[in-house]
Symmetry: C2
Subunit: 168 residues, 2 copies
């Protein structure tokens, strides 16, 4: 793509495997892997509790939607991140679609030292903790993702521009 060629000299951010531990500063991996649970349904399932979706603050209500994502081209250009200061946001791949998660911490703006990119294999979801900077959904194949987030009366999305970088 022409856009990627223009960015050929841009800094690159290497993809890391997504694990509960590596993602912990930014939020939660929605998976049973490595988590304790309890047997339910006559032993046919193990139930693993996840943190409650953080969606009720300031009059918020839970929202469920489906994002039908188109595959992103690699390397992926990252030019901006967004954050939601009033609630968490959970992305759950339906159908096993792998995806990329780009996140950062930072109060006034994304802190470059905390920028990280993770490759999610498509058998787990992620929850971005309230206030964590993140890129919008980056699917590695066409597919549906269920999204759980806060719905409120006012817009809760801040966008920060970044010095462009490439993730691969």
């Amino acid at each position: 793509m022409a856009g990627n060629q223009l960015l050929s000299g841009a800094p690159r951010l290497a993809l890391r495997p997504l694990t509960v531990e590596s993602f912990a500063p930014y939020g939660d991996v929605v998976t049973s892997k490595g988590r304790e649970g309890r047997s339910i349904n006559a032993g046919t399932s193990t139930r693993v509790e996840m943190p409650e979706p953080d969606v009720l603050d300031d009059g918020g209500r839970p929202s469920l939607s489906v994002f039908r994502a188109s595959a992103a081209c690699s390397p992926i250009e990252i030019r901006e991140l967004e954050r939601h200061r009033l609630g968490s946001q959970t992305f759950l791949p339906l159908g096993g679609t792998p995806f990329v998660v780009v996140v950062a911490l930072g109060e006034a703006a994304p802190d470059a030292a905390t920028l990280a990119a993770f490759r999610a294999a498509g058998d787990c979801g992620v929850t971005f903790r309230r206030g964590v900077w993140h890129h919008s959904l980056l699917a590695l194949a066409d597919g549906d993702f269920a999204v759980i987030e806060r719905r409120g009366t006012e817009t809760d999305c801040e966008v920060a521009q970044l010095r462009p970088l490439l993730v691969d």
Copy 2:
């Protein structure tokens, strides 16, 4: 399995394909297929709104968990159904795991005339509407499912016994 052999003379319930229309009496299929949405994220995704999870009534709060399911043996024995009268329950396969949904309507008990079994391909989820009788999770392969439901102070699960039947 010995259990299935004992039930070899039991009535059988044929699996139907899960579609938005066929499942409508019982709840919602969580999918973008056949649904209208709006373009978001610079055109890389289409956002499709689903009904709000029905989890806040009577002091309820949203709950997110992961069920690590073991594959059910076919034909599947159905001996009981459950329902939650205070909220909806949403099952979302992570990793593309296909599953079977057995549902019924009925006020005091499941109405046999409304019993239905659906095969979900693993690229969509389902929401059981509040009060709809349903079997516990029946995965067709080992896999994780994200579950969104109501959490409250009291138990909200009724179980009804059925004349045993086989689903295949």
